[in-house]
Symmetry: C2
Subunit: 476 residues, 2 copies
Amino acid sequence: MAGLGDREKTGDRDKTQDDAAPAEDGFGLSRDQIEAVRAALDDEEAARGAETARALVLRLHYADQADLVQSLPAEDRRALIGALKGAFDPEILPELDDYVRDEVIETLGYQDLAQALAELDSDDALYVVAQLDEAEQAAVLERLPVATRALIEQGLSLPEYSAGRLMQRELVAVPAYWSVGETLDYLRSAPRLPEDFHEIYVVDPRHRPVGQLRLSTLLRSQRSIRLRDIMDAEMPPLSTTADQGEVARLFRDRNLMSAPVIDVSGRLVGRITVDDVLDVIEEEAEDDMLRLAGVAEVDLYRAVVDTVKARASWLGVNLITAILASLVIGLFEATLQSIVALAVLMPIVASMGGNAGTQALTVAVRSLATKELTPSNAWRIIGKEFLVGILNGVVFAVLIGAIAWIWFDRPEIGLIIAAAMVINLAVAGLSGIVIPLALERMRIDPAIASAVFLTTITDVVGFFAFLGLASLFLMP
Amino acid sequence: MAGLGDREKTGDRDKTQDDAAPAEDGFGLSRDQIEAVRAALDDEEAARGAETARALVLRLHYADQADLVQSLPAEDRRALIGALKGAFDPEILPELDDYVRDEVIETLGYQDLAQALAELDSDDALYVVAQLDEAEQAAVLERLPVATRALIEQGLSLPEYSAGRLMQRELVAVPAYWSVGETLDYLRSAPRLPEDFHEIYVVDPRHRPVGQLRLSTLLRSQRSIRLRDIMDAEMPPLSTTADQGEVARLFRDRNLMSAPVIDVSGRLVGRITVDDVLDVIEEEAEDDMLRLAGVAEVDLYRAVVDTVKARASWLGVNLITAILASLVIGLFEATLQSIVALAVLMPIVASMGGNAGTQALTVAVRSLATKELTPSNAWRIIGKEFLVGILNGVVFAVLIGAIAWIWFDRPEIGLIIAAAMVINLAVAGLSGIVIPLALERMRIDPAIASAVFLTTITDVVGFFAFLGLASLFLMP
C-alpha cells in the first residue's frame, strides 16, 4: 500500500515520533503507540506509569490524542485523563464521540472543563457545551468567564443544526469606502485579529455584509483602489438559522471557501469556513446510511444496555412487519399443507423483492438528500424504476422458474413462481422510489421510515402473489 | 422552513434573478426556472426559443447551470447545449454526473471539449478527461494545447483515487531564506500567480517543501523576519500516490485547510485544498451506503438497460442466497407438512436476524471506513455486539414466544420460536461485526460483500434453528 507514503524522504521533521513507530500509513496512531500507553498506565508504580503515559501522549497531535483516548478501555481512559491533569489539550474535546466525551468530562470535572472551553474557538466551545444535558450546561456555564459565557448562551439559543451553531464569531470586517492601502495597514497593525483568516468581509455602515475579498486579491491590488471596486459581491450571506445540511450543500455546489453569516437584522455576526463543513457533509451521508439500517448513530463506544435499547425500537417495528407477512402466509395454510414445495420456495420471491426494492430505495434516499431527485424529475425516475423492476423481474423469473420446475419436477410451480417474481420485482421497484418521495412530501425523513414500509410491501406482495396464484391455479 | 433565509433583507444584489423565482430555500434552481427553459426550448420558432433559453441559462451560477442541464430530459439537454454554443461555461463539466457528462460531451464535440478543458483548472480538466474512455481521451488530448496536454497525461499516469489526481498544480512556492518583505513584494508584483491562494509554501533549494505560511501571518509579520522563523513546519506533505480516502481523513482529523503534495523525489508538485476534499468525503460515506444496498452508484440518470444490468449482478448473488435458504427449508419438508404453523412462522426468525445483523453490520462498515474500528478495539466490540445480540434476542424471544403461543394455542411452538430467536439474533450480532472485520483483513471491501454473507447466515441459521428444533421436539 502506498499510503500517504514517501514521508521518510522528506527530511527529518518528525524525529519526535521515532521511538514509537507511526501507523502504517504514516499518519495517525499506530497500534504500538496505543500499547505503549496502555503498558505505562498498567505500571505497578502508578506515579511513574502516569508520568510515562503523559510524556507519550503529549508529543502527539491533538487529533491522535483524541483517537488514543477513544481506543482505550474505560479504566485506562480515566487513568490517562488523570495523568494529563493540567496539560489536557482542549482541542481533544470536540474530536471525541459523545459517549467518550461524557466520560472524559466526568473525569475532568466542571472546573477543568470550563477552563478548557475558554481556550477553544467559539464554535468548538459551543459544540461541546451543546452536547451536555441541561444540568451539566448550567454547571459549566457558571464557571466560564462572562464574555465566553454570553457567546455560548447566545449560540445555544439558536436552533440545533443551524448555521449559527457552526459559525465562528472571529472574523475581519472593514468598511467598503476603505482603500486597499488603508486595509493593508489596518490588517498589519490592528491589535486583535483572528489568528487565521483567508478573506475579509466588506460591510456597510450598518455592519451588513456587501462583499468579500480574498487576501490574495487584496495583496495584489494597488493601494489606492477602493474595496468596493474589487470586492466579490456575489457571496451568499447565510442566516444564523439556516439548516447545516443546506449550508453544506451550498458549499459543495458552489465550491465556496467561506461564507458570511448574518442575524435577523442582516448584520454580519460570523463566518463559516469550508473546514467546518467537512463534518456536516460526512455526517449527512453517514446518517442516511445508518438510518436506513435502523441505527441512530455509530454507537461503537456506547454501553451495551443503551445499545440494546436504541436498536430494539427498530427491531420491534420489524417484528410487526414480519408478523404481518406471517398473517398473509396464514391465509394459505390449506394450500401449504397440500403442496409443501410452496413453503420451501416462498421466501425466495419475498427476499428478491426486498433486495430489488432496497436498491431503488437507497438510490432514491441518497438522491433526495443531495437534491438530485426533485419534483421536476420525479415522474421520469418513477417510470424508470418501474421499468427496471419489470425487466429484472423477467430475468429472474426465467431463472427461478426453470430452477423450481427442475427441482420439484412440476412445470406449473415454475410458472407460478415466475409470475410472482415479475409482480413482486415490479412492485419493489415502484415502492423503492414512491415511498421515499411520499415520505419526503409529508416531511418525514425518508431515510428513517422508508425501509420498514418497503419490506412490508415486498414481503406481503411476495407471499400473497406466490401463494395466491398457487391457490388459484393448483388447488382443486 | 427557514432555509438559507433572510436573503431579501440583505440588499438587492440579486436583481438579475428577479424575473424567474428562485428555489424556496433562496439558492439553487427553482422548478419555475427549469420550466421556463423547457418552454423556451419547445418554442415553435426554434431560433427564438434557443435565444431565450440561452439568455435564461447564462444568468445562472455555473453550479445551477449544471443542475439545470441535469434535470432536463435528453432531447432538451441536447437542444440547450446547442443553444449555448460558444458560451458554454466549462465549469459545468466537472459538476455533472458521468452519464449526463457523456451526453453533453457527445453534443459538444471534441473540438469544443478541448477548448473548454484548456480553460479549466488543472485538477478539474484532469478529472473530466479521466472519466472518458481511452479512444475519447486520445481524441481530446490531441486537440489540447501542448502544455495542458502534458499536464493531463502526467496526471493520468497516476493511480485513480490518488492525491495526484486531486491536487492543483497552481501554487505559490518561495525559498526559506527570503524575508517577509521580499515575499510580500514578490506576491505583489509577480506576473503569473494562481488566481486564488490562501497560503504559500516554503521550499528548500531542491524544491522540497519545508513549511507553509498563511497569508494572514505573512501580512501581520515584520518585513525583516525570515520565512523560516515564522513558517509552520508541521504540515503533512502528501505523496502523489496517497489514497484520496486517506487524504480526506487526514484533512478531517487535523482540520487542515490545505496540504502540499510531493512526487517520489520529494519535490513540491501541487497542493490539495480542503474544498477539493469535500467531494471525496461525501463520496466515501455515500459509496459505503450504496454498496451495502448492492448498487454501485447513484444511477439516477443512467439508461434503463444499463441500470438493469448493473443491479442484476447483485440480485443474482441474492438469488443464490435465497435458494440456499430454501434448500435448508427443504430438509424439513416432512415436519412442515405435519405442522403447517411452522411454515407460517418461519420467516419471522430469519427476518429479525437479518435486521439485527444489518444494524451491527452498518455500524461496523462505517467504523472501519473512518478507522474508528481497529485491531486494537476489535475484540472489545465483537464481545459487545454478541452481547447486544443475545440481549435483544431474549427481549424478542419473549415477545414472539407469547404471540406464537396465543396464535396457535400451542405453548411448545412458542418455546421453540423463542429459542430460535435467541440463537439467530446472537449469531446475527456476531456475524454483523465479524464478517466485515474478516473481509477487511482479507483486503476485500466490507461494504460490497458483507451484506450477502450476513443474510446467508441469518437466513440459514434462522430457518435451521427454528425448523430443526421443531423437528427435534415436536415430531414423533
